[in-house]
């Protein structure tokens, strides 16, 4: 018996070591520590029965919209839009997972380490030859890399599928979705001006007030922000949680792009942020054991036991990142408020793009229209989900409604605050390289901020990372 076990083990050892060779998963990446970790690379292929031999579908005619598809393939990097889609999309049958009778299949790949872009690129390149059930019909893209897709032939001009009414949308969301020739390739279902989100009770203790106007007056420049950070520390609080918290506030106000003329040109504001983060770290204004903005250590600060006063985020931050604050037992529901903060900026945003070669053109158009033009969908997003939609008319309706308030924010009218911030969003400096630049920079500069390496060494590591991801970009 023992021998049998031993020999079975040996045999499996041999098989395993043989199987181990050359079977390295090419893109095993895990969204370590992010909220999306649980949904890693999940492909929701609900039914295999619809995968009938459909490989000989005729190629789509160039001008007409192809609607022959029986599977509606959507790609995304997290579950956020999927949740809204399943709740509010008119014509969606949740039980059968179909939209107007067409099976909806989500492919979700987390964006960590550029895995989402990587998988999407491969799928789009194969889209022309993929079988009808595998064709990507629609995909989501974020501000950091949308340009890469809009400026390519892999996305469709949405006027071809009958989406043309964009005047209710915020201009920056339209610019972001337009290619170099001004053709509009997609729509955003959200507008993402990012606010300073503060804990009312801590603000009362530190500033003596929790009134959004007065807090804004006390924090409307970086000098004031620095001064309050010191006061907060003296009173036993942290100004914000991780070193990376204010990164987007600086980076969105850049006066130049990350890459110009094939050369990495780091905007000056990035260096200003680095020095701020370093000084906050050294002075103890932030939590030195908080590894990053997506870390659990930061999210735990939103519990009642948390000592952190400020967070930064757009409307999606409430539902997507502030789960701990909404915890019924240990949370801080209602103890929050928002104001513009030291500088206006935006963060993220989810654009819906139509993939070239889609065989569900009308459905793609229907989804785009539902989430931008359909006022009842937009109203639901605001009232039930606390979102700030990309429909000016609906947003303004709530912004000017004195009876509207968000309970989570102690009754504050968040929509009104966000409406006042949309003008300060800058778009012109976006490049196709932004995701790797923004994420890589924050990752590698960290060792300088926590004092383990010199700034030069951290920058050198960052440049290596860029060389690896973008061979065409020249680094110093």
């Amino acid at each position: 018996m023992k021998k049998r076990i031993a020999s079975a083990l040996l045999a499996s050892a041999v098989i395993l070591s043989v199987a181990g060779c050359g079977n390295q998963p090419a893109t095993t990446t895990a969204a370590a520590g992010t909220t999306a970790a649980a949904n890693n690379a999940e492909t929701t292929t609900a039914a295999a029965d619809t995968q009938a031999a459909d490989t000989t579908a005729a190629p789509a005619p160039a001008s007409d919209v192809d609607n022959s598809g029986t599977t509606f393939n959507i790609r995304a990097w997290n579950e956020e839009f999927k949740g809204f889609f399943e709740k509010y999309m008119p014509g969606y049958d949740a039980a059968a997972q179909t939209l107007d009778g067409v099976k909806v299949v989500w492919t979700i790949v987390p964006s960590d380490d550029l895995a989402y872009q990587n998988a999407l690129d491969e799928a789009l390149q194969k889209n022309a030859t993929a079988s009808a059930d595998d064709k990507v019909d629609m995909f989501l893209a974020e501000a950091d890399y949308i340009l890469k897709y809009t400026d390519s032939d892999y996305t469709m001009d949405i006027s071809q599928i009958g989406v043309s009414q964009v005047d209710t949308e915020y201009q920056y969301t339209v610019s972001a979705a337009s290619d170099a020739n001004g053709k509009i390739k997609g729509v955003s279902f959200q507008c993402c001006p990012s606010a300073l989100i503060y804990r009312r009770s801590i603000a009362k203790d530190v500033l003596g007030t929790d009134d959004p106007d007065q807090v804004q007056a006390a924090l409307d420049s970086w000098d004031k922000y620095d001064a309050v950070a010191k006061t907060a520390k003296d009173k036993g609080y942290y100004m914000h949680a991780s070193f990376a918290e204010t990164y987007r506030v600086f980076s969105n106000n850049a006066d130049g792009a990350w890459v110009t003329g094939g050369q990495l040109t780091m905007p000056a504001v990035i260096d200003q942020w680095t020095e701020q983060a370093k000084s906050y770290y050294d002075n103890g204004y932030i939590i030195d054991t908080c590894p990053g903005i997506w870390d659990e250590a930061k999210n735990n600060e939103m519990f009642a036991t948390g000592k952190t006063m400020c967070f930064f985020g757009p409307a999606w931050y409430f539902n997507f990142c502030m789960g701990n604050a909404q915890d019924p037992d240990n949370g801080t529901f209602g103890d929050w408020a928002i104001c513009k903060g030291p500088q206006g900026h935006f963060w993220g945003g989810t654009w819906i793009l139509a993939a070239t070669g889609t065989d569900n053109g009308d459905l793609v158009a229907k989804v785009m229209k539902a989430f931008t033009e359909d006022e009842s969908v937009c109203e639901n997003l605001i009232v039930n989900e606390g979102q700030f939609t990309n429909n000016k008319k609906v947003n303004e309706k709530f912004a000017t409604d004195p009876s509207f308030g968000v309970d989570f924010l102690g009754g504050q009218n968040a929509t009104a605050v966000f409406c006042g911030m949309t003008d300060s969003i800058k778009w012109e400096n976006a490049t196709i390289y932004d995701q790797a630049c923004n994420e890589g920079y924050q990752n590698y500069i960290k060792t300088y901020i926590n004092g383990t390496t010199t700034k030069e060494a951290s920058l050198a590591d960052f440049y290596s990372y860029i060389n690896e991801k973008y061979p065409a970009v020249q680094t110093p």
């Binding site: 040996l10 050892a13 181990g20 590894p291 590698y444 383990t452 061979p471």
Partner: protein, 321 residues
Amino acid sequence: MSSTTQAASVKHKSISYAGWGYFFIAPFILVYLTCSLLPLLSTFYNALFENYMDGLKQIGPNFVGLDNFVTLFTPRSSDGKMEIFSYTGNTMIMWVMGAVPQIVFALLLAVIFTSERMKIKGQGFFKTVIYMPNLIMASAFAMLFFQIFSAVGPINQIITANGGQAFLFFDQTWSARSIVAFINFLMWFGNTTILLMAGIMGIDQSLFEAAAIDGANSSQVFFKITIPLLMPIIIYVVITALIGGLQMFDVPQIITSGKGNPSNTTKTLVMALNGYIGLSKNYGMAGAYSFFLFVVTGALSFAVFRSTEPKKDKKKKGGKK
């Protein structure tokens, strides 16, 4: 009839089985040629081209000769560091940190389990248990350890509950490397133990008996009999571990989200290779990296093999019996 002529000719000469040898090794040769040699050559061929994606635009393939190899061995302009050597260094350091304890520990266990004196009960159970970690996916292991050592994980909860300050294990080179090495140790010591046990059980039992009769103590038996006769297996274990170690990828990749934090000190050669074939699909540079990896693996295996090879006259003794 031809069969009779054949039979007649067979009568005259002795039967030659030489041709059968080729027949039996043919499958291996075929598999080797198509699955090993051909990819190796095509990797080298690919390394001679500039061939990558810039966003969604394909650049190349343009023949650039050995430019990719030149780039590979060019110190980076920002700080003069040679990336490829840092990554080789990282890989080797983390391998040694895991492999040395792995082999020592496995040897110890193998000797204990095969000892006639101790006669450990429930061996099957223990063997299964020590082999178990190898059955768990490296990625699952990495995620588990990432959680255990995270800023708010159980280890830090214990530290903070006792009045200490939370420690960011993945922000310090020594701790990040130690965790990677420890996972590899944990995953592979069972496998090594079983290989070494098989080796020890293959040693003629009468030698141990003779040593016992001559009054040799345990350590004398271990160093004078077990180790010398186990050498071929140990060499095999070291070389396979070395090759596996040079290909170290999944654990540090997952623990650091592919970034080799902190400061690229846990970035291994294969992680760098994976970085090149990721978003940029830079087959040229990736090919050059792979070829470098092949050369290093070959050289190190050869060195290990040479340094531990028994002297010519003793060679026969070390062989199987």
